[in-house]
Symmetry: C2
Subunit: 465 residues, 2 copies
Amino acid sequence: MTSVSNRVDLTPKQLEHLKSLVSGGVSSSKSVLEQHGMDESAHLPILPSAVAMVSSTEEVSKVLAYCNQERIPVTPFGAGTSLEGNAIPLFGGLSLDLTNMNKILDVRPDDLTVRVQAGVRRMALNERLSREGLFFSVDPGADATIGGMASTGAAGTTSVRYGTMRENVLALTAVLADGTIIEAGRETRKLSAGYDITRLLVGSEGTLAVITEIALKLNGIPEKMAAAIVNFPTLSDGFQAATAIVRMGISIARCEFLDEVCIQNVNALDGLNLKVAPTLLFEFHGTPQGVEEEAKAVAEIAAEFHGSDFEWAADEGARRKLWQARHNAHWAAMAANPGMRTVSTDTAVPLSRLAEAVRVASEIFNASRFKFSILGHVADGNFHVSIVTDPEKPEDLVEVRKLTHQLTGRIIDMGGTCTGEHGIGSVKIEDLVKEVGENGVNVMRSIKRALDPNGILNPGKIFSN
Amino acid sequence: MTSVSNRVDLTPKQLEHLKSLVSGGVSSSKSVLEQHGMDESAHLPILPSAVAMVSSTEEVSKVLAYCNQERIPVTPFGAGTSLEGNAIPLFGGLSLDLTNMNKILDVRPDDLTVRVQAGVRRMALNERLSREGLFFSVDPGADATIGGMASTGAAGTTSVRYGTMRENVLALTAVLADGTIIEAGRETRKLSAGYDITRLLVGSEGTLAVITEIALKLNGIPEKMAAAIVNFPTLSDGFQAATAIVRMGISIARCEFLDEVCIQNVNALDGLNLKVAPTLLFEFHGTPQGVEEEAKAVAEIAAEFHGSDFEWAADEGARRKLWQARHNAHWAAMAANPGMRTVSTDTAVPLSRLAEAVRVASEIFNASRFKFSILGHVADGNFHVSIVTDPEKPEDLVEVRKLTHQLTGRIIDMGGTCTGEHGIGSVKIEDLVKEVGENGVNVMRSIKRALDPNGILNPGKIFSN
């Protein structure tokens, strides 16, 4: 295997050739390179050698066939909202920008599906779908591209009810390293036809193929949606309440928690007046009476676990405001700390270990010199510690990495995972080995070698080549 | 690649050696071989050369390492309830029987998970889980093993609400062809850590690895469950009603249809008195008022599409009886035709094409000399034509295969799949090529070669080696 393991800069001849393949242009201008050298994480930027703006699956195919022949590393790029450096071109080479591929190709209300190009953003998609009374459920905080969300295996606040990208991508078109165009999956709601290549590519962070089109499962907008907010004396009380609710088979649509620091931050950013206390947010989807009944049951269980100030946000304005605040938590942390960046951990544990896991995380970061806040998806056992770091001090990042590595080690020992929805990127490579073992990583590596023998696709991510 | 492509019979020396590896014994007795040479399909039996009763992951590892070295084909075997010959050892060799691995290893009510050995059967599992107020949702008609259900990518009547095996297998232990034991996934409800090896193995029909342990997602038994039955003048009316219901965001737990022949058969087998008409069965899970409200909404929509005789089975006895009838449909078809076997098709289409797809199926089989009935999972767009064949007349099977191949061709042209939940087995290999294209199948083949270079695992399934 002749994998890419050193920085690659394109020759003028290579650049010229690539320009002949791509209608949207190939750029090496400083500002464009800079924009494609970073994501929403606190990772230090690494510039690609060039950026190609592709416009079609066929263009992606031509570019990859050429890059494979020339051993040029290719890192796909969407909205740049990844949180683990997933889109940062570690070895330079070509950043493949898919944001021009932003067409919603086929809305099929009667099939509850939509087919989109990889560069479509989730908010634009939902705006279009709302006209049909439909929605696409996966909602990470950022307005990411669907291609990026598929590649990262993204999830969001509604995953407890509607699933993550793994459950919502029905089919896709992708291009292999050698330029071969493949179709995976079908736009049916059930499928058992051979290996599940769709779900192999979802979450593969652009290391196996470049996803160019995606068919998604949609849901009808429920007749009634209502949210509720409850405070607890401790997060642990809140988690116990949430577990009891899930066990009862109440099908909550969202169940999130924010610690006191998060509440302070979102109050400041969004001009809200939420009580500063460990807080759970719930959402219910269904018929009007069903929603009311579920909310009542939840309020009762919350009270058993010392929940107080159960507040009902039944009207659409109040509901949206609450979730906007939750989605803004990441930016609220940055706004509260001007000039700083945040590192977000992404561990998940079996439900019963959540309180312990969050306690471990608090202990680790309380013993450090960093400011942090904790929030997460309670009913999924997935939480994020958002750690404030100074981009001017690279030693900050080194120290934070040590702490997060310490946390993921403890979480994996508890039966948890180092990543619930952000992916491995380049920093959690060792954590993945600890998590699935050398044998597990070797299986992944064999698949990588089988599909990308020259290792040109997003090298240095998920495992060292 | 030195794949298995001819029948392999074990030498006395090989048999002796295998006996030294397996505590549960290795048998070559005629009755044992016969039992492992067939499944629930109408495929003609093919006997393995020997059957090994394995008791642990370590034993599976030793057996596979030896068989890989000796190039002995290995076909995993569970309850033998597959419907596409998935467990039939096409090239003889060893049938690896996992039914002794029937321990429920770890029920974790607070995590809503359970870990089981591959040979545990779904009904025994649910009996154990009911003590905790929990259930495992996937319910194919047969009392299959969890390992078999995972390998086939099985689904059932509740998949519309709770998903198929793909959504419910969280993690697994498996053994590669060379005996390497791997862990895939984690017992967390969300995971984005590297390639999704779990879902690659789910549905791989034992061709990539032998699954030995499985961690499953569980659900709390809902406070209220109620079923309803509605008749329609035509199936098409029923499908339109069902699509309208799904679009409204009503979260039905089950939505099934049976044609008139099915109703006649189950009436006869179960001593029921259901009206002989195209029939939809619904189930609702939730709070008492929520369920009532959903049922009311469904009744209204059904009436709009000419549904009649909406009958409510709110009490537990009536509800169970209704679903028992549905689950018995396969056996009811055989009971109505003594001495006969049935071939079951398994196509799925995008929701809006279901009426057309069922019409095409009816036309094809009405024009044939075979008796048949049609039933299916409306809200998943997945349906089965159950065709009655005479096992004494091999020419029957040849003719039926031609007809089913004709049907799958039409379905694939409609954007559908040749299999929603039964898998490819050995007969739908060409259909898979039509469905995902040569490039798509080649990706599967590359993965097969990377993980099982000698092609010993269940050769001749999914694709020709």
